[in-house]
Amino acid sequence: MDRRRFLKVTAITGTSAALASCGHPENQIIRFVPEEELTPGIAVWKPSVCPLCSAGCGVIARVMDGDAEVFRNGQPGVTRMGLARKLEGDPAHAVSQGRLCARGQAALQVTYHPDRITTPLRRTGERGNGAFQEVSWDEALGELVSRIDELVGKGQASAIAFLGRPRRGQRQALVGEFLRALGAPAPVSFALFDDGVARHANELSFGRYQLPTLDLARTRYLINFGADFLGTWNSPVAQGVAYGRMRQGQPGVRAKFVQVEPRVSQTGASADEWVVVRPGTEGVVALGLAHVIMREGLRPATAAGRAGTLVDGWAGGLPQFTPQEVERRAGVTAERLERLAKEFVTYGPSLAVIGGAALAHANGVVQALAVNALNALVGSVDAPGGISFMPTEAPPARPARSLRDLVSASPQLLLVDEANPVFATPSAARVGEALRNIPFIASFGSFIDDTSVLADLILPDHSFLESWTESSPESGAMEAVSMTAPPAMRPLYATRAMPDVLLEVSRRLSRPLDPPLPWQTFEEVLQAPPAAAPAAPARAASASPVTWADAQFDGDAATYPFHLLPYASQALHDGSLAHLPWLQELPDPMTTAMWCSWVEINAHTARQLGIALGDMVEVSSAHGSVRAPAVISPGIGPEAVAMPVGQGHETFTRYASGRGANPIRVLAPVEEPATGTLAWSATRVRLARVGGPDGSLVLFAGATRERPDHHGRG
């Protein structure tokens, strides 16, 4: 007898069950007629583009039917609709090649995030206190249009500003068109890790304002100066695929990988050799290598071509960068440098890469130029196993304006599209204060973050799965890649694609744009794209050599003995992904930490300061301080401390608000002079233990649980 029959015998009928289940709200809710043809339980794969970083990986979304709670005509109910269930790399896409990184996988949660903005919002309380009220699209658009009308009417169209994340493609072009037609200045792109320095240097060296594609698969000797190319830098998926081939792609062939950086990054962990350098001296090592190569006559100075002539003293064999001198400046022994130089030139094709923290110094450009010249010297430019530049229809252009330009122009009306400068700029730069003084801010983002909380109006965008997407990556593949994809699923909420909103605004303006924008919808834009925005005039390829400049640091070494090395979190990247629970709970590969911030400290330093694992420490610069638990790591030198970027949002959904600490806020507002990008590795700090463990350090495993005498078992 089974349980069910047993109960029948005991005469408990199902009536009570039926009555009880009627009480569930799910059963009383209205069901709307599905708007699409779906075969239940059958998955369909739809292409899309991952929007989370600039790599532009093509993805495919697994769409299956499901019951979603929606509003139709203002009425709550449930409907069966196609829902994206999983994201995978698009096998047909030359960048992602069927693979996808952890962040890309988690992009799914952007659409289904419980704190996504579902309808337009208007600020009701004090600016920044987060009180908003729901308004209709009509009302919201009306308000935005009237604000623009007012400014245009007063002849102040130039006081309209647009701040977005660095994007390429038609969406960005449309924004440019819109602003130009309005008479407003060009849009401003802002991201913390925006690689402007690398692009600038590449333009100087090779005439391309672009990040390079690394042909790792065919490289036999790789020297990497701080670029986290397997984690967060440039096109990590494509680089990861190529890296796999570099390691075990051909039987019996395995490249050597040397990592030159002051702290072992996740990428550095895979290196065969870790060369510890002082922060900001990566270029010295590169030039030292070039010196040895030229001194030994392994390559002539002329082999480097223009990239070489840009470096002061190149033609003379860089006499000031003898191994002894490099040892003194960078801390790499002369013998090691000699050996590396010979290996580098002997076991080609060889490749040198620089990125990330190495360029986040005031001398970033000259560091990059040094590595470019080294690459050129060994013939690794546009050669198999070297760097190359992806041929694209619309090559990346130097931005016309920077955030600094935008702020200093004191705009009257600001449109923000997912950029979060309030989070990602040092507090000393006072960007937040400047934004607060802008009379009207409208935000298009899907979430209320540290910046959009200041907005007067929020016009929520579709998630990428709900809107047309495009991919025009600047690197990652050898050939040009360009794709557009229709929405993978219908919108869950009353959101509208930002390009459609701009087009709608342009139609509603009391003084029509001249010429009017020729499209009705974003879809039309993608089919008949605007002409590429004219690139800023290419910088005159000045042949005047650039002289080496030592990296300068904010804060004197006596008061602030440690270099603060912020780094992009493997999970949360620059913090724009801190709202995704999958990524919050992703153990950091180096420390296994989840849901928190931490400070990485060398064991020797920790002993000196009496800091144990999990103890709260305070990291103070001349511009402020943050507190976070300590993690003691053998992968960082005694003169540096490192902190991941990503946490420390004041406002950013239930998962990220008030969690952890943001090292960017305490940085000195030092910029790389040529590009105006933040030199985020150029701050010195002091360190103090301020208390015992407060429980905020959440480790999946590892650090707390490992004893030094048990490493590497297996």
Binding site: A701, G702, T704, R705, R707, H710, H711, R713
Partner: protein, 452 residues
């Protein structure tokens, strides 16, 4: 011999059944409250999930299984001791046997509850039992947990019978002395016992067989409990010594529990006339023996691990020896050896008070031992990346305290409804015919020598 020979004894021993003090009610009330708190804690855990306990990844077993092993260990007080003493016919066993057997039955019941409390889905615990169902799936007889189920069931059945059978004549005695509802209840419990020579003889030979049968079962139960650990390739679990080590430990803690219970009964039920210092002294000697045996096993276990120097085992070894579990470990050594050994070895200290102090120490020490077997090993499995730790949560502590309260409560109630000392066996003990040996002479000989 006269007819009054036996009656004062029966009067004494039956008295608690008929006279109850206010203190008793008060104590029952307090204990019942604690037990109810434990039940409420379990209800809370049932509703919210086992996660309210402190267990985690990778320490999946914690307080509940510690208590399980502890209580199963305590259960060896009774049946095993009383069966051995019955078989060897040790004279001094007579006042002790029932006290001991009751401990067994209640400790087993409480112990057997813990694996169920500890389940993630306790409402499915019946799947451990072999029964035909529509699913056609039976328990996995390779699982030590199923062995536990069978062993505990057999042991509980046996112990219950071992306890109940000799109670029948005493129920008859109470029946004949009572009236009204008591007479009806005890009449039913006495099953119509008359005391014919045939009944006596069957009872005696039945008990003889049961005593023979219960000893291997008791040994098997704690061996199988040890198998729960030693079958898994967890560092310092996967050891062949675990069977005898656990059995010895069980008897060790069982005797300690018995001494404590007897001392309490002696004091509270005024049984000074029946529970003599010699009983405590004899049990104390047994306890001494087990303490030495325990020390021997621990030394053997630790030495082989240390000598073997196997990587993952050494992690556990050092964690207990000088790592985060060292305070508990050394507390265990103190409680199980350093305190009881001198007390029990020195005749002057082997008094009632002395043995009780030693027994309390042993109970604490043995509880710690179970904890230290389970938790440090799970916290240090072979991959160092997965090392973890464990901290008990309020629910676990409340339930644990409640089971101790339940044990005391059940014991109190039992002693209120059943003569805690077997009256007829006491009478037999008082029969004049066997050559009378003085208690002093009997000390060691009486332990192992059969009556002629």
């Amino acid at each position: 011999m006269n007819r009054t020979r036996n009656n004062p004894l029966a009067d004494d021993l039956v008295r608690p059944l008929f006279h109850t003090s206010v203190w008793f009610y008060g104590a029952v009330l307090v204990l019942a409250t604690v037990v109810l708190a434990g039940a409420a804690a379990w209800g809370y855990q049932l509703w919210y999930g086992i996660g309210v306990a402190g267990i985690n990844w990778p320490v999946f077993w914690g307080f509940y299984l510690t208590n399980f092993v502890f209580w199963i260990g305590i259960s060896h007080a009774g049946t095993l001791i009383s069966a051995i003493l019955r078989l060897v016919n040790a004279r001094w066993r007579r006042p002790v046997t029932r006290c001991a057997e009751v401990i067994t039955v209640f400790a087993l019941m409480i112990g057997a509850m813990f694996p169920i409390i500890h389940l993630g889905r306790p409402w499915l615990a019946f799947w451990l039992a072999p029964y035909p169902s529509a699913r056609e799936i039976w328990p996995n007889f390779r699982s030590p947990l199923v062995w536990d189920f069978f062993a505990i069931n057999t042991y509980l059945t046996g112990s219950l019978m071992f306890l109940l059978l000799p109670m029948i004549p005493d129920f008859a005695l109470v029946r004949d002395r009572s009236t009204g509802w008591r007479r009806r209840i005890y009449g039913a419990l006495a099953l119509g016992w008359q005391g014919t020579t045939k009944q006596w003889h069957r009872l005696e030979s039945g008990m003889q067989i049961m005593a023979i049968a219960i000893i291997p079962v008791a040994v098997s139960v704690h061996t199988i409990v040890s198998f729960d650990f030693s079958m898994a390739t967890v560092p310092m679990w996967h050891s062949t010594i675990f069977g005898p080590y656990f059995v010895a430990g069980a008897i060790f803690s069982g005797i300690a529990a018995l001494i404590v219970a007897m001392a309490a009964l002696r004091k509270l039920l005024h049984l000074e006339a029946y529970l003599h210092p010699v009983h405590f002294e004899n049990l104390g000697k047994l306890l001494l023996l087990m303490s030495l045996l325990w020390a021997y096993f621990v030394f053997a276990e630790r030495l082989t691990v240390w000598y073997g120097n196997e990587h993952s085992e050494m992690a556990v070894f050092w964690a207990t020896q000088r790592g985060e579990y060292a305070p508990l470990y050394w507390a265990m050594v103190v409680c199980n050896f350093v305190i009881p050994f001198p007390i029990l070895a020195l005749r002057q200290l082997r008094t009632i008070a002395g043995t009780v102090v030693a027994s309390f120490a042993v109970l604490i020490g043995m509880w710690l031992e179970r904890f230290l077997i389970i938790v440090p090993s799970l916290a240090h499995k072979p991959l160092p990346y997965t090392w973890g730790d464990y901290a008990p949560q309020p629910v676990e502590i409340i339930i644990m305290v409640a089971t101790f309260a339940a044990m005391i409560l059940l014991y109190m109630l039992f002693s209120k409804f059943v003569p805690i000392i077997s009256i007829w066996e006491m009478k037999v003990g008082n029969q004049p015919h066997p050559p009378v040996v003085t208690e002093a002479e009997d000390e060691l000989a009486g332990l192992w020598r059969a009556r002629p």
